[in-house]
């Protein structure tokens, strides 16, 4: 019987298109993600095969969550069909039993609900067979991963969702309840994921994830490229345990529903009808009171206000609205709980971050509200069949339409106000009281309301024209999706075409609304005018009465047009004028290049000029700048007198220059002819009148005169703003010689443009002097002298590299003259803002922070860090050659800190808003400043040749330097925490490598290697060699290579210096750390303790050890061990803390396989640990620590 019922249900479903449509959708998305570059599901995959098992697992994980609504639709429909169709009484009066009924329905709907998910595998296989993806990125399609993903992920997840929805559906018996539970499940899941993301016990979190996604990601978090391409999911206790757990939960849920279910029809309960007042004689004969009817504008206004109030109150009191808002607020508050997260630190909940968090998590609910309620409002009279009464009332149609538009706009406004309340509450709860209502208003409420109101106008227009509620919803969503994602395929970026597009806009504490507001406002006005036209057309086609055929609607529209064209005319006029104005400003006064144009230019640049790559060129030696900044007019005048020197042994007959993108340069090359001027690729070739002889100099004058005109499609030169101007020398100078750094790097882009497929990321590491003639920072430029006269508005301070020689005001402008104290890299910045300046002295060096007035809180830390760094670095590495060291704050359009000679610009959105009042955190402000200070030696004194390993000399050394300063300031325990974090980051990033992982010595500007891996490696070397020994090597490096002219030093030079101070017994360590990719797989098996009569302890520790070398893709080969590894013991963590104190540590000789050591300890240990300081990379760091067991 069950089989028959099951088959009946299944057959029923298979006849319906829904199952296939959803399957096709899943197949389409997954297929597209495999086949097409720009379409992505899940994160970046680097060089992992696009159809690798790990990608498949990701797709299945994400699609399982997306399938929530699909499963709900299928299960709900099956479960409540008999109730919805009122056939329940017929069915229940048959001989069918409850068991047969429920089981067959549950099994059938669950089975059917898994079918759409098969689309994932289908699309996956089809996508990998299409011709579009790079063949190198496609691996073999294997059956097993698909089976595993389906059986381990898809099936149990569908069973779980199905059980929950089925239970709700058969017990509540309304579709609404089912979908609400689906949304609650979804949002609850997201919220729980957010809340548990910083829980320490990852195993518990992984077990408790009902969809098993956390278990999968925990099991695969350190997978390398090779492993991602080949491995099946490990069938370990965690994943299997998770699946078993949640299948059990599903069973319990189903059983609960089974027990509570009863065949009696709950909907039979009689709806209480209002009692009739029959005793009073009905229809009194008294005449009705006389009334005055007034028609006209005032009446319409009163009617309008009433309608808006009625509709708005109706929406706000409605269940749907309350549910959606509650869900939205639930998610909003969980997101806001993380608003203070700032890299590895806590940040102050500054208003712009709160606003952007709200936009990120809450706007989706606003879009849901707009979508739903525009349809609901348009159909408000017709859905309950009130339209015949309403439409025969003497009130104009435009009043109806405008009232509805106004209602939805007010709703949007109110939701924004609500979100502001949530934001301010969050700020208050964090004890932050700078509420900035003006920023909330100007950066959130007003722009948000305007933007979403346009969407509402669009939706009203669509609903009116389509005149079918559901097709209307569908059409609106399709249009919005197309408008959001479709234009880039056509390479359209104009704000005049992309609906509701208004260019970039970013609020900054320093620059406020910056240069964005003007263009934003004009484009918004343009789209509002368009919205007005849409509403007018909606009015023309407004459905009033019962004539809905196209013929009559068109006829009515024509008639309405005849009487109302006078309203439309100015509307269209305004729109056309605004469009013309927008075009004039964005395309005539200014220009912009689309991303396709940029890509084409890059490709052509390589094709046309690659042949000049090795053409010998002169080098920059001296620069004298005159710069005039008018920050309030956003204009910039520059003039640079430049000296180029032929450092080669041959005469140079032509000069090759690359011009910057945004600022147009006038270049005066004396006695020369401009033989090539490529204005698309910004490449110029000057033939010199007489060849430049070896040792001879050439003097150029490079000038520019930039002035912001009108407004742009999106503001390009965000470096030039009212308060916080910040630009580099290369924004106003040409670079010399063909620059391989401008070539396309993405493999499929290269293939598309028929460029050679294989491109080395960096030249090979080598000692060959001929290949060491340029630094990795810039071609044809060595140590230069710079002198600058810079002026700005009278209320601002302008800063250029070097010591301030003179400062004066003239003609209402503020002038400064700076000069470098020592030749430096040709890599520096110019800034101007209304700065506050904190000045201190360290010996005879000026230590300064130039900061925005509201951002003083961390300035003392920065100064402290600079001083401590100066102390350490001058003692351990060598002298500092500048007379000042400056930190300069700049607006958050860029979010980095960067070291230039003697100056370190630091973004307002990081160190200046970091909240370091909690003493447990790693002080990233202190650390970042120390790192940038490190660059004053490592990059600005010793700089690597342009080849592999260059960033080992700068980034890794700056990292090491900062670690040392930080350790002095905060102690060793802090370092353990820091290294654990760095180790985790390194291992997680390996699997997303886009080309190949290389050993540290050959690092190719890969952040996860030269920062994260290097921190651990350098600290490890310090631990084994000792700080003084290691720093001796580094001091020698600085001694030998500081301000070295070409040929430049390389990582090999550094390696040799460390090697010199490394005893032979540790050569293996040096090689493991620098020449190999080395990973351990140690595991603490047990730690058994015993208390001795004198209250001391004996502890025996047993662990297994394993060391591997990995290749560029992460394939590992075992290496025999005879290594030194620490064994340590921790005390019990004090309450509220994560870690205990390290009681004891001993370095042991460890061999591959099992190792056992016994220790005598004076105090009771809580945990034993292999490598307690995280000096080595362990594939499973969690199993290196274990509680000590006592008999």
């Amino acid at each position: 019987m069950i089989t028959r019922l099951f088959l009946f249900e299944v057959r029923n479903w298979l006849k319906q298109p829904m199952v296939y449509i959803f399957m096709a959708l899943f197949a389409f998305f997954c297929g597209a993600a495999v086949a097409v570059d720009n379409f992505r599901i899940g994160g970046a995959i680097g060089s992992v095969h696009r159809n690798s098992p790990s990608v498949l697992y990701t797709f299945y994980s994400i699609m399982c969550i997306l399938s929530l609504l699909v499963v709900t639709a299928i299960v709900n429909a099956t479960a409540i069909r008999d109730f919805a169709n009122n056939t329940s009484q017929i069915v229940f009066s048959t001989a069918i039993t409850k068991r047969q009924y429920l089981l067959s329905k549950f099994l059938a709907s669950t089975f059917v609900a898994t079918i759409p998910l098969m689309g994932v595998s289908l699309g996956f296989v089809i996508g990998s067979a299409t011709p579009w993806p790079d063949p190198e990125q496609i691996g073999p399609n294997q059956l097993l991963p698909h089976l595993q993903a389906f059986l381990l992920l898809a099936l149990p997840n569908v069973v779980f969702i199905s059980a929950v929805i089925f239970a709700v559906a058969v017990l509540m018996r309304t579709t609404m309840a089912s979908f609400v539970s689906a949304i609650v499940l979804l949002v609850g899941y997201i919220v729980a994921q957010n809340l548990s993301s910083d829980l320490d016990n990852r195993t518990v979190v992984a077990l408790l994830d009902p969809f098993g996604i956390r278990a999968v990601s925990l099991a695969t978090k350190y997978w390398t490229v090779q492993e991602k391409n080949t491995l099946l999911l490990p069938m370990n206790g965690l994943l299997v345990g998770n699946r078993v757990l949640w299948l059990s939960v599903s069973t319990v849920v189903f059983l609960y529903a089974y027990l509570r279910f009863s065949f009696s029809d709950r909907r039979q309960k009689v709806r209480a009808e209002v009692a009739e007042g029959a005793s009073i004689p009905i229809f009194q004969q008294r005449p009705l009171p006389k009334v005055n009817k007034v028609f006209g504008t005032r009446t319409y206004l009163a009617q309008f206000a009433r309608q808006v109030r009625l509709d708005l109150v109706g929406i706000i009191k409605g269940t749907v609205f309350i549910i959606v808002m509650l869900l939205g607020l639930a998610e909003l508050f969980t997101s806001l709980a993380y608003v203070t997260e700032l890299y590895d630190n806590t940040g102050y909940p500054v208003t712009y971050n709160v606003i952007e968090t709200i936009e990120g998590s809450f706007y989706i609910y606003l879009i849901i509200i707009i979508t739903f309620y525009t349809g609901a409002l348009i159909w408000k009279e017709r859905d309950p069949k009130m339209d015949e009464i309403h439409d025969a009332l003497p009130t104009p149609s435009w009043r109806d339409l405008l009232a509805k538009a106004c209602t939805i706009m007010l709703l949007i406004f109110l939701i924004h106000v609500l979100a502001v309340g949530a934001g301010m509450l969050t700020q208050a709860l964090h004890g932050y009281t700078r509420f900035e209502p003006d920023v909330y208003l100007g950066y959130f409420v007003i722009p948000g309301t305007l933007k979403f109101s346009f969407l509402a106008m669009l939706a009203l227009f669509i609903h009116t024209l389509v005149n079918n509620k559901y097709i209307g919803y569908f059409a609106f969503i399709v249009l919005v999706v197309l408008n959001t994602f479709g234009w880039s395929g056509l390479d359209v970026e104009s704000n005049l075409l992309i609906m509701n597009s208004t260019g970039n806009m970013q609020y900054s504490d320093m620059a406020r609304f910056g240069p964005f507001l003007k263009g934003w406002s004009w484009f918004m006005a343009y789209w509002w005018a368009f919205g007005g036209i849409l509403l007018f057309v909606a009015f023309l086609f407004w459905v009033r009465g019962k004539e809905t055929s196209a013929r009559w609607r068109l006829r009515n529209a024509m008639q309405r047009l005849r009487t109302s064209w006078k309203v439309a005319l100015p509307l269209v006029g305004i729109w056309v004028v605004l469009g013309g104005w927008g075009y004039y400003n964005s395309k005539v006064l200014n220009t912009y290049t689309t991303s396709d144009q940029v890509e084409d230019a890059q490709a052509d640049y390589e094709k046309l000029y690659k042949r000049f790559e090795h053409t010998v060129q002169p080098h920059y030696t001296d620069l004298v700048f005159t710069i005039d900044i008018d920050p309030y007019k956003r204009s910039l005048k520059t003039r640079a007198e430049v000296t180029l020197l032929n450092k080669s042994a041959q005469a140079i007959d032509s000069l090759h220059l690359n011009l910057p993108q945004t600022i147009a340069l006038q270049i005066d090359v004396p006695n020369s002819a401009l033989v090539l001027n490529d204005t698309v690729r910004n490449y110029r070739i000057y033939r010199l009148g007489s060849p430049l002889q070896p040792g001879a100099s050439l003097h150029l004058v490079v000038s520019s005169n930039y002035a912001a005109r009108g407004f742009e499609n999106s503001v390009r030169l965000v470096q030039l703003v009212e308060n916080g101007t910040f630009f580099n020398n290369m924004d106003i100078l040409p670079s010399i010689g063909y620059d391989p750094g401008s070539e396309l790097t993405d493999r499929s882009d290269r293939r598309k443009h028929q460029l050679p497929q294989y491109k080395e990321r960096m030249p090979k590491l080598s000692d060959d002097p001929a290949r060491r003639m340029d630094t990795y920072l810039m071609k044809n430029s060595d140590w230069v002298n710079v002198r600058t006269t810079i002026s700005t508005s009278v209320d601002q301070v302008a800063v250029a590299p070097g010591s301030l020689r003179k400062e004066w005001t003239a003609d209402g402008r503020h002038y400064f003259e700076y000069e470098l104290d020592h030749p430096s890299m040709n890599f520096y910045s110019f800034l101007s803002a209304r700065y506050e300046v904190a000045r201190e002295k360290w010996n005879d060096i000026d230590v300064e922070v130039y900061y925005h007035k509201d951002h003083a809180v961390n300035v003392p830390r920065m100064i402290n860090s600079m001083k401590k760094a100066l102390t350490y670095y001058t003692t351990h590495f060598g002298p500092y050659y500048h007379k000042q060291v400056r930190i300069l704050e700049f607006p958050r359009y860029f979010t980095f800190a960067q070291a230039f000679p003697g100056t370190m610009p630091y973004s307002e959105s990081i160190g200046f808003i970091t909240d370091l009042t909690a003493d447990d955190d790693i002080d990233m402000v202190f650390y970042v400043v120390a790192h940038e200070m490190g660059h004053q030696w490592w990059a600005h004194q010793l700089v690597g040749a342009n080849m592999q390993g260059a960033t080992l000399l700068s980034e890794s050394m700056a990292q090491y330097s900062a670690l040392m300063v930080m350790e002095k300031e905060y102690g060793r325990d802090h370092m353990r925490k820091f290294l654990k974090l760095e180790s985790d980051k390194y291992q997680r990033s390996r699997g997303t490598e886009s080309l190949k992982e290389v050993p540290l010595l050959e690092v190719e500007n890969q952040g996860y290697i030269h920062y994260n891996k290097a921190s651990v490696v350098m600290y490890c070397m310090r631990e084994f060699l000792g700080e003084d020994t290691l720093d001796q090597a580094f001091k020698r490096l600085i001694d030998r290579y500081a301000y070295q002219q070409p040929p430049y030093p390389t990582a090999l030079d550094m390696y040799r210096e460390i090697d010199r101070v490394t005893p032979d017994s540790l050569t293996y360590l040096l090689e493991d750390n620098f020449k190999y990719i080395t990973l351990y797989n140690n595991r603490l098996m047990n730690a058994k303790g015993r208390m001795l009569p004198d209250s001391s302890y004996d502890v025996t520790v047993t662990f297994t050890a394993e060391k591997n070398h990995a290749d560029t893709l992460g394939r590992e080969t075992p290496v025999a061990m005879n290594d030194w590894i620490d064994v340590g013991f921790f005390s019990e963590p004090p309450p509220g803390k994560d870690d205990g104190e390290l009681l004891y540590k001993k370095r042991e000789r460890v061999v591959t396989g099992e190792n056992t050591f016994t220790y005598h300890l004076p105090k009771q240990p809580y945990q034993a640990a292999v490598d307690p300081d995280h000096l080595f990379f362990d594939r499973v760091p969690e199993d290196n620590v274990k509680k000590v067991e006592f008999d």
Binding site: R271, A272, E273, V274, E276, G277, I280, P281, I282, F283, Q284, Q285, R286, L288, P289, K290, V291, N292, K293, V294, F295, R298, T299, A302, Q303, R306, L310, G314, K317, G318, K380, P384, K385, M386, E388, I389, H390, D391, A392, L393, P394, T395, P396, R544, G545, K546, E547, S549, R551, W552, R555, N556
Partner: protein, 297 residues
């Protein structure tokens, strides 16, 4: 004021002729529109209520062109559709007040007085704060009547107003309509002959979009005088009578069919002359109409 309809025609997209050259003259007072389901009554009423468009013809209410000056018509119109609902979660008072405002009664005090009077008139005053969604069919219909009376309408159109009312309510409703119908035009559509007989001074019978009869009910009755014959027959013979006589109606009395046949002479032994009822008029006209159609076809 009079409503004059001339040559009004309406054909739907699917080819159905809802109105076919309808001419009607409707003076002040109650006017009954009689016809079977699908005859075109609702179409006619919706056109008059400005909710549908006519393909051809005119409808003049005094000097007012009903088909063109829709908003002017709406200002003096009271309309009760056959089927209607209201906003969910809105009380009877709120809804009437809202409609009153939309009908141009801007003065809040006047509106309040009017709405209360209306609520009392249709005996919903006690329930004025209840949601209309919870009303019984009769109460909802009373609400519908109340809203159609707002704003002193000169033309009242009520489409099948007694559907869903119990006999008592129907009576009271008629009283109310006649009271109002003394001074304005009230067009009442129904397929219940009884309604028209009791209420209307003038009537029209329409079928398949055409007017079969228009005039006072008395005239119609008079035209049938002496032509209606009645006989009780066995059930088995119904078929024979249907084919051989102008059978206008048959109804069961105590389980036996009693048939009415239209004929100028006594059609057969056993028939007795019956007093013509409006029902006979109605069915007789329909029968005649069908016969002509068949012949033409």
């Amino acid at each position: 004021m009079e409503l004059t309809i001339k040559g009004l025609s309406k054909t739907y997209g699917n080819g159905v002729k809802a109105l076919d050259n309808v001419d009607l003259h409707i003076p002040t007072g109650m006017f009954g529109l009689l016809g079977p389901n699908g005859a075109g009554k609702s179409t006619l009423m919706r056109i008059l209520a400005t909710l549908q468009e006519a393909d051809a013809g005119t409808a003049m209410l005094g000097d007012l062109d009903v088909l063109k000056e829709k908003n002017e018509v709406r200002k003096i119109l009271g309309y009760l559709p056959q089927e209607f609902g209201v906003y969910p979660r809105v009380s009877a008072y709120q809804m009437l007040d809202h409609i009153a405002l939309l009908k141009g009664i801007v003065n809040g005090g006047e509106r309040k007085e009017l709405v209360n009077a209306l609520l009392q008139k249709v005996n919903l005053y006690e329930q004025r704060k209840r949601r209309i969604g919870g009303f019984s069919g009769g109460m909802k219909q009373r609400f519908g009547i109340a809203q159609s009376l707002i704003g002193d309408p000169r033309l009242i159109i009520v489409d099948e107003p007694t559907a869903g009312l119990d006999p008592g309510e129907r009576n009271r409703f008629y009283n109310l309509l006649t009271e109002i119908g003394e001074h304005v035009i009230v067009i009442l559509s129904t397929h219940i002959v009884q309604d028209v007989k009791e209420l209307c001074s003038r009537m029209a019978i329409i079928n398949k979009g055409r007017v079969l009869y228009a005039g006072p009910p008395d005239d119609a009755l008079r035209s049938m005088d002496g032509r209606v014959w009645e006989k009780a027959i066995p059930k088995a013979e119904l078929e024979r009578y249907t084919t051989s006589f102008q059978l206008i109606s048959s109804k069961l009395v105590a389980g036996r069919p009693i048939i009415h046949v239209m004929s100028d002479q006594k059609p057969e032994e056993g028939f007795v002359q019956a007093e013509a009822s409006l029902e006979d008029v109605f069915f007789g006209k329909l029968y005649a109409d069908q016969q002509t159609n068949t012949v033409v076809a």
